[in-house]
Symmetry: C2
Amino acid sequence: METLIQPRVLKGFRDYLPEAEIPRALLIEKLTAVFRASGFIPIDTPVLEYAEILLRKSGGETEKQVFRFEDNGGRDVALRFDLTVPFARFVAEHKGELYFPFKRYHIAKVWRGEKPQAGRYREFVQCDFDIVGSDSAAADFEILQLMKTSLDAIGVDTCTIKINHRGIFNRFLDRIGMREQSEEVLRAVDRLAKVGEDEVRSQLEALIQDRVSAAAKAQDILDYIRGGDSFEETLSVMERMAGGPSEGAAEDIGRMRKIRAMMEAAGIEQFFVLDPSITRGLDYYTGIVYETFLDELPELGSVCSGGRYDNLAGLYMKERVPGVGSSIGLDRLLAGLETLGGKTEIKSFLDAEIFCLDEELMPCYQKLAVELRREGIACEVFPDPRKISQQYTVAEKKGIPFGILLEKPEAEKNILTLKDLRTRETFEGITPEKAAEKIRAELPITVRPR
Amino acid sequence: METLIQPRVLKGFRDYLPEAEIPRALLIEKLTAVFRASGFIPIDTPVLEYAEILLRKSGGETEKQVFRFEDNGGRDVALRFDLTVPFARFVAEHKGELYFPFKRYHIAKVWRGEKPQAGRYREFVQCDFDIVGSDSAAADFEILQLMKTSLDAIGVDTCTIKINHRGIFNRFLDRIGMREQSEEVLRAVDRLAKVGEDEVRSQLEALIQDRVSAAAKAQDILDYIRGGDSFEETLSVMERMAGGPSEGAAEDIGRMRKIRAMMEAAGIEQFFVLDPSITRGLDYYTGIVYETFLDELPELGSVCSGGRYDNLAGLYMKERVPGVGSSIGLDRLLAGLETLGGKTEIKSFLDAEIFCLDEELMPCYQKLAVELRREGIACEVFPDPRKISQQYTVAEKKGIPFGILLEKPEAEKNILTLKDLRTRETFEGITPEKAAEKIRAELPITVRPR
């Protein structure tokens, strides 16, 4: 006898049992419907790519986290760690086959060998949507609107989308002569919520060589970051502090006003906060940037983030393709929703279980199942002649609302007994059509995910 | 200036552009709906597992094809090469959390480093559905029925599902004293369609030590394999040649009759052929086995195969869990459907494009889009003020049926011009509600995948 292998998954990985996979699948379906209704279409790219393609631009941190190896053909390959880099490669490779503006969504797994921690896994699903080939404010708006519509569609109604503009921030840094330290400034500013204003102030002051102006400049940065009390006021602060004679600044401010006007026209302006402290670390963003926080669970971090980039595929081709996009951290969001208790546990998609009372009648049960499915009822036949109490227990554990009983004398007359397993109410001697009607009446389509 | 990296995918891998990914996504959605309506629920497992878990049972061929490497933590890991082995591990690991009979579907990618050839890739999507924890004929039937329903749902109506029973075949080999060479016999028999009867006969004779009986035994095997002219006749041949006093044989023959009775009750018996030459190489099958061939493209090979196994998770636990399941080679099937020309090319899910005639009106366009979506119309706003002829071209290339034009004087009165981009018919001065009504009337829900 062979020894048994212990069944287990790798550290940082997990199985999705039906009670976890069903909500995830339903979430993905809802998002998919929203994307399609706005003209986004799906693509797919390989999970495995040349390491050179995936890793060229990324810093050391990503490189350490990536699953990278030599394949049987001696190629240096890696599992993708996001959906953006493969998309950039895809756009460069297929630009002649695509129509621009090109709007795609991609919902798929990515892998990062991060230190596993609560709610963080090494394999997780990302959901990206981007518009490439348009530099317009309308495209910026469309992504922001879709973030809101997507989150609505999956029942996340209390969240705040914080937006900012990286280009305007950079011009502000130019004006105060700190553009060269922009990375350090961004890093310091990014920690504002975590470490507080005093800590950030002293970090900023430490960045400034000229001790005379250090306090004033740090204060400027903090003032800029703080903004005003409304979208318009904050934008005015940004305009005043970054504007001046620069053409670009006026244009960018104008773009933010255009986006705001579209939000108002669409009736969604109240869900967006202009927050100059949002910067997104990644340096490929050049325009608008955004992050989304659940109002009841801000500590979860951003569940939907992104921004505008000038030159998505610059590593792979000479043409500049501007784009704007966003990414939902689906598994993180699911974990958040679970914490908030908004989860409805769906353990089955079935409306009815046809119990096996007499194995000889199996052909009758199967015929009945076909008839009921034709009537739109999702049903199954219990395949084994187990004790009826056991069959009930399984049906109840699966959360199936109706049971159907069919015995010999009834079977010949094509009549059955329908039992509501939740209330124990019983309807005897009815036809399959009548049973289907009763089930449909009890279960409005909306509660039955299909 | 950095040198550009050539954008390319690994050998044997491919991108799915929208025109390939949309049909695949729609196929998956249709299959999902069918599975759910019969009580199958989704699970997910990691793409990456311990190599020990994935490879223990597989022979040398699989091992050579698998993507296997040492991860950053020094673990010997591999990408899954099918969905069955991970499912076996899953069942063993979570048996206490599942309700049996447990019916799951799993549609996901698998990887094999096969020699790339036309229509064969190293990354492909499998679609598995299994029932574990029931040894009944009803479960066998349910999988067979679901194969037929699934293929129907995705428009494959001319196919033949060939079924056989490995247990009966083994008993027949027992009777003629060739059970020990069963693997070689299976291998020879498996090539019948490819190399013809004479070649198989001489291969079979070569397997038989006793030269006196060699010809007769080879003939017996060929007779058994040929069967009869109908399900019942073939089953009689099998019964006569494998039956005799053995209890088990009678039971297995009885099971086949039960399955047949259920098929007749469900009205699907004509789609199944009892074919004793179908054996499925894999030695974990112990009962019924099946393969599915497109009638118009048999050379594609089986697009949906599987069978019953006595002991799915035997490598990982002591309890025996019987099961029965099937697997659709989704990408192979898609390639076949494409060859047969049955592909409807869907390049967009949109009903209407709102053209950008005047950038200043962008908020009006966005407001209109919100109104139309509320009316159930999938639409987008063209984000850039490009020449109208260019905007038309993009909309046509995307296959969007309607265009909407809105200029300043109209915009104030909330009336628009609707244009059928296919017929060039134009409706002027209508309200958004009227436009939505016209679009809905032209595009029945059924042709709009959602």
